[in-house]
């Protein structure tokens, strides 16, 4: 099992969700986060105060998948979240030691397999 952790542009979230559902990836958690990557900072001005916004709004997805679902998940993310401009985000694939489904107590592969 792997945990796919993706950081994407907020305006790409709808497209990414559609792509994931089409790839039959149905279990995920999202968070609104702020981050700093390679993108040029935005300059904002409020009256006499000019600031550089070092943090940009991003959405972080956490997706627990069984091994053979890693590739389809990553491909869906790459395709749907990409604009080609700096700031599209990152995908991290992390090993997972154990997974439990709380409702049933199922473990590992069974716990990340969608309810049929």
């Amino acid at each position: 099992m792997k945990l796919v952790l993706a950081i994407i542009r907020p305006e790409k979230l709808t497209e990414v969700l559609e792509a994931l559902f089409r790839a039959e990836v149905r279990g995920l958690t999202i968070n609104r986060v702020q981050g700093h990557g390679g993108e040029t900072e935005r300059v904002e001005t409020y009256r006499g105060t000019t600031v550089k916004m070092e943090l940009s709004e991003k959405v972080r997805l956490e997706i627990g998948v069984s091994d053979h679902f890693v590739e389809p998940t990553v491909r869906a993310l790459l395709r749907a979240a990409q604009t080609g401009e700096v700031g599209d985000g990152k995908i991290f694939v992390l090993p997972v030691e154990r997974v439990y489904r709380i409702r049933t107590g199922e473990r590992d592969e069974a716990a990340v397999t969608p309810v049929g």
Partner: protein
């Protein structure tokens, strides 16, 4: 000159001016959070551009004698607009009162172009439109122009303001094209309480709009005032029933829309029909607008905030029903179809058609002309996706301020903070 009239018109002018910020909140709540400031600014900008254009030129084009189609330049730069009486109130006050109408009419169009129009192009459009499109139509109806001569009844601007803005909105939406997400993603309101707040403040301001159009503190003002209270109430009830019938739930956005539709519909009729007729008019007006709101999103017409349904359709229904329900024993001037003057309806329809046609053509010419000199839409890719607040204004509506590094006026640029960059992002 009459002190009571002057006092009421001073208040009414302030009430109508308040409608434009109210419209900003009504519209601002309906867009996505990333475009909230841009949408509010589209209304607030009209308070500047259109007010000054009106004082310098628009008022003269609309209300100076001129001919049947247009005023002349004799009142431009406010020449001869002084403290002497116009009717029973000071001439300057009459000018200011009419100016608040020009401001809100221009701002109404913004609902059709939100979330995609370049702000500097919008500012020019707004200013030119108020002179080229609004001023002539105001002259036709209120400045002694041909629709006034024909006998068209438009108490407070059903055709001049609402049919006009509705037609302009359709043309503007078609000229700019739909938003890139339109019809592909769900685009939902980000703050429905703002929309309700805006609708409430619009209603409050509308008492100045309609009852003020009596241009005095008199019985007709009282009639218009009461009708402005009753008609939207009836619209709200009918809209509620339609919502219940269709989905079984009464929606808040629907309620806010219903109030505006009712206010629009009673506008041309306010001082011409009885309070009982106002209730009928308000209730009937709900139906066409309700079904237009349902139909429009299935088309490629991205009239984003339904200016056509609320103002175009509502204004048309109100103007036509004015010709049906007008009653001389209430207004002292004219009867409608139900009270023995069947031809009045035809005059009303002619007025609506003429205003819509001229507005559509004029708006198209203004936008085509502007497009020769500058792009009308924000640059894509990027700007539309990340929102117009940051791209067009360099501000955020709901920024937390976290991660903002102060740029000191004389400091050497780029005080980068490498420690703040998460190591993982650098890998």
């Amino acid at each position: 000159m009459n002190s009571a009239d002057t006092a009421w018109m001073l208040v009414a002018t302030a009430l109508v001016l308040l409608m434009t910020p109210a419209l900003g909140f009504f519209y601002g709540g309906l867009v996505r959070a990333k475009n909230a400031l841009n949408t509010l600014m589209m209304s607030f900008a009209a308070l500047g551009c259109v007010a000054i254009a009106w004082a310098l030129l628009g008022y003269s084009l609309a209300f100076a004698p001129g001919g049947a189609w247009l005023g002349d330049l004799s009142r431009s730069l406010l020449r001869g607009v002084g403290l002497d009486a116009s009717g029973s109130i000071p001439h300057v006050l009459f000018m200011a009162y009419q100016g608040t109408f020009a401001i809100i009419t221009a701002a109404l169009i913004s609902g059709a172009v939100v979330e995609r129009m370049r702000f500097r192009a919008y500012l020019l459009f707004l200013t030119i439109w108020s002179l080229v499109v609004y001023a002539p139509i105001a002259h036709w109806v209120w400045g002694g122009g041909w629709l006034a001569t024909l006998g068209a009844l438009d108490f407070a601007g059903g055709t001049v303001v609402h049919v006009n803005a509705g037609a302009a909105a359709v043309v503007a939406a078609l000229s700019l094209g739909p938003r890139k997400d339109y019809g592909r993603q769900a685009i939902l309101p980000h703050n429905v309480p703002f929309t309700l707040l805006g609708a409430g403040l619009l209603w409050f301001g509308w008492f100045g709009f309609n009852a003020g159009s009596a241009l005095g503190a008199n019985a007709i003002a009282a009639l218009a005032f009461v009708n402005t209270m009753l008609a939207p109430a009836a619209t709200l009830i009918v809209w509620t029933l339609l919502d219940l019938r269709r989905a079984g739930r009464v929606t808040a956005v629907g309620a806010a829309t219903a109030i505006v539709v009712g206010l629009v519909a009673i506008t041309p009729a306010a001082g011409f029909i009885s309070p009982a007729a106002a209730i009928v008019l308000g209730g009937v007006a709900a139906l066409p607008s309700y079904f237009t709101v349902l139909w429009r999103p299935r088309t490629r017409l991205d009239d984003s905030l339904d200016v056509l349904a609320a103002h175009g359709v509502g204004g048309t229904v109100g103007a036509v029903l004015t010709g049906v329900l007008a009653q001389k024993i209430w207004n002292g001037t004219a009867n409608g179809l139900l009270f023995g003057a069947p031809l009045q309806v035809l005059v009303q329809i002619a007025g609506v058609a003429a205003a819509a046609l001229y507005s559509a053509l004029g708006t198209m010419l203004v936008l085509r002309g502007l497009a020769l000199f500058m792009p009308l839409r924000v640059a894509d890719p990027g700007h539309e996706g990340s929102g117009l607040d940051v791209g067009q204004h360099g501000e955020e509506a709901y920024g937390s301020g976290e991660g903002a590094v102060l740029v000191l006026p004389e400091a050497t640029p780029a005080v980068a903070a490498p420690a703040a960059a998460p190591a993982g992002e650098r890998a």
